[in-house]
Symmetry: C2
Subunit: 508 residues, 2 copies
């Protein structure tokens, strides 16, 4: 099929870009914009400069590259028709959620049609006994957890921003809870995906709707029914793992229009703590020892002294300005007492000076709000500057080495930067502040990021633990996976998107 | 690339099967067997009927279909050369581990070359601080855990048989510990794969060897160095998830020649228990309630009264003949006491009559040996008969319904069968005993398995939670994933194996 499409494209059987969708100046033709309006309604299509600008960048320092047009579909049927329309006209398709990515994943490097999925924001089905929920792409992680408040369940994956859940699927996001609850890779049970040509794929099966004959795909797409993603069993060995293929594909293989996510029981009790250390090494050693002692820590986050200082100021905390761990433990009251005791013993053994416990919900909320605001706290260090958050991950034994090296590199580079990370996973960020007008500084920041990525690779790590490749890390990806890995990824892309129109210029 | 290869095959640019590798009667040519011997040494190639028979079947009732020849490579270089040789001659390649599969995954349906990987059985690198280990394909799960005995770490995935770890990767195996520690999908960090044409892919990156220039692939393959799979970071968002693509691919996409696996700390204390219930519903309700109460149960296994009776006889247990749960809890002494108390409360609330605790290691070992011997205990119910173990998985809320239906179906069918399963995952097996000479009974067994698969699909489940599709469940897979899912899987297969030579006739 892929080869047929490629062949057809070569033979000119598809209208090429500009064939009828663009005018003489490269602008979108009126006819094409009308066709988009016919699909989603004219109030859900915009070519206004402000909308295009707003959709041409994320929170990173990658420069804004606006799409030609932004559309807001209301349901999966419309997404499918939009994809088919763009594909028939050879126009790039860029999926858009909350725009909170950090590697330029939404930049419209070749222009095209930005599909903003945030109007599809229903929670379609909660299956409390099965610990699962089906959400549309516009539901954010906080909205889901607010919805779940009285269910005894929660969804733990928490990147800093209040990102959309399907955007988190697309980038393979994780966050502070991953050490205990896993990343998006571990918490997605099934996906509904609109493939580039408009067809609908259910990565882990359709559930009974398909089989009962009540809801064949064509009928469903015509009728515009609610998406139906099956609740999904906890595990499966049926055929190739298509779900895993789309998690982390960064919008380059298809549009995710619904996801079945795994939920977890709310712990009976929760305690958080901060703990200051005499050195980076001591903080990381504590992390490794806590994991080795099988203490089921729920969060274990590292902040260097610069980051701690910034958080103190930005979030009115009063922590010592030192390498610090933020920890959280989940369990029964009794289990917590034991976890806390062990963690204190291990930290004390590694020279921790101060262990400050936050047992009340409000106190904990304040602490984690501060942690989740680290990005903004760092930005406040140099008002008016942009931030660039690098993201690498190494085997945990190599963490002390790379953190110490990175702090030295930071000093040597003369750049302003903080270090913060999910050390229980070996994953950390270096947030660099940069004046976007200072091209020399921008160059130094990029060089620093690349050097850090190479350091991680040299230590058997990865150039990104959670932000993805996007625009910024394509060279590093090549170095990481090698020639055969790259060719396999290129084959996958060509197979699912033979015209190369899904979020072009990203990942590969 | 895939399309080019397909086109080349269509045009006859590849030697086709029989071109020079087979004689007039379809037998392998002497020249080809000599070529195999030149790669692995003549003592590691066999065309003896006994070897071929032994490699033509697994533990299932699928009939033996022997390969033309069996080879035992000693290292990854040889595997690569064998794959290239077979591919150039258009001969099927069938990877073979311990032959303990349950869906006919090793049957050589088109003859060809069986590659027995069990001579590659080194544990290449243990990274205790990173909780990971790199193994060659012949290392079995028990051998690994014996090796790890004094390390404070263990590998929890435990299908019944002492399967090879890379075979477990290939089938996406799981077992009794999956409810707490996940399946193979969750415990593989990196894979070294020989692709059908002989090239080497590292699914999660090469580690520094590649980048340092010390170990480029060609040099390495010529020199026959040790495989080098990077220890792997705990998480990654770098490009498409190639590791996930090969876990569960059943040998149809490539040969797995090394795997980096995730290890877990050995729990400080362990307690097991058995508990008899008045009904299937009561046992399953107990399971759901234990999970909802966030009791971190490590194992929770269901045995129906027929299975319990068979295990009592086969393994000299003395349990009541009733629907039974086998449970295990891992944690500190203190945490265990609390887990046990909660489990007893919940089970008591659901009418459990007898809770019998096994606190001593020897007692526990006996209990779990009995559980792992369930297959053989069932076989002993009808000596001389073959077993067929079906395997389905449903959302846990649908378990009572499907278990009750299945027991009624069993009664109505007149077949002998037992039910046993990993109910914490919604996964269970029905082991049917069948006289392979009685074609009518074989037909009834197959019909029963298909009906059970459809029941699981109708309840939003999957036709296989851990055994895989193999030869037996291809129709059910189609019903499960639908037309677009099947086409996507077929595209994946054609992309990586354009000639269709890797374990042909399986999965798709």
């Amino acid at each position: 099929m892929a080869s047929l499409l490629r062949a057809a494209a070569t033979l000119g059987l598809f209208p090429r870009r500009g064939y009828c969708s663009r005018g003489a100046q490269g602008e979108l033709s009126k006819g094409f914009v009308e066709a988009l309006k016919a699909v989603v309604g004219s109030s859900h299509v915009s070519t206004a400069a402000a909308h295009r600008e707003q959709h041409g960048h994320d929170e990173s320092m990658h420069r804004c590259q606006p799409p030609d047009v932004v559309v807001w579909p209301q349901n999966v049927e419309q997404v499918s028709r939009l994809a088919a329309l763009c594909y028939s006209q050879g126009l790039p398709i860029i999926p858009f959620g909350t725009g909170t990515g950090l590697e330029g994943g939404v930049c419209a490097v070749q222009g095209g049609v930005c599909i903003n999925l945030t109007h599809m924001d229903r929670i379609l089905k909660l299956n409390p006994e099965d610990f699962s929920v089906v959400v549309e792409p516009g539901v954010t992680r906080k909205a889901l957890n607010t919805y779940l408040r009285d269910s005894g369940l929660w969804f733990p994956v928490d990147p800093g921003a209040d990102a959309s859940l399907c955007g988190m699927v697309a980038t393979g996001a994780s966050g502070t809870n991953a050490v205990r609850y896993g990343t998006m890779r571990d918490n997605v049970l099934n996906l509904e995906v609109v493939l580039p040509g408009g067809r609908l794929l259910h990565t882990a099966g359709l559930g009974r709707h398909f089989r009962s004959g009540l809801w064949p795909e064509t009928h469903r797409l015509m009728a515009g029914h609610l998406p139906s993603v099956s609740p999904g069993s906890r595990k499966s060995a049926a055929g190739y793992n298509l779900t895993g293929l789309f998690v982390g594909s960064e919008g380059t293989l298809g549009l995710i229009t619904a996801a079945t996510l795994r939920l977890h029981p709310v712990p009976e009790a929760t305690v958080a703590a901060t703990c200051a250390f005499p050195s980076v090494q001591a903080a990381v050693d504590t992390t490794v020892h806590i994991l080795q002692a099988a203490v089921p820590v729920a969060r274990i986050e590292f902040l260097d002294e610069v980051m701690m200082d910034a958080c103190n100021r930005h979030s009115q905390l009063n922590c010592p300005v030192a390498p610090t761990l933020f920890l959280e433990f989940h369990g029964s009251e009794q289990a917590l007492a034991e976890q806390i005791q062990r963690a204190e013993e291990i930290a004390g053994h590694n020279g921790a000076s101060l262990f400050s416990w936050a047992k009340e919900a409000e106190e904990r909320r304040r602490l984690w709000a501060a942690r989740h605001s680290a990005w903004y706290a760092a930005l406040a260090l140099r008002p008016g500057c942009k931030g660039y958050s690098t993201d690498v991950c190494v085997p945990i034994s190599r963490l002390p080495e790379i953190l110490v090296q990175t702090k030295e590199d930071l000093k040597a580079s003369g750049l302003t930067g903080t270090i913060v990370g999910h050390v229980g996973d070996g994953n950390f960020h270096c947030i660099l502040l940069v004046d976007p007008e200072d091209t020399e500084e921008v160059r130094r920041v990029m060089a620093f990021g690349e050097q850090l990525g190479r350091r991680a690779l040299a230590l058997h790590g990865t150039c990104t633990g959670e932000h993805g490749i996007g625009l910024g890390k394509q060279q590093l990806l090549q170095e990481e996976v090698g020639a055969v890995g790259m060719e396999t990824m290129r084959q996958l892309k060509a197979m699912l998107d033979p015209q190369g129109l899904m979020n072009p210029g990203k990942v590969l």
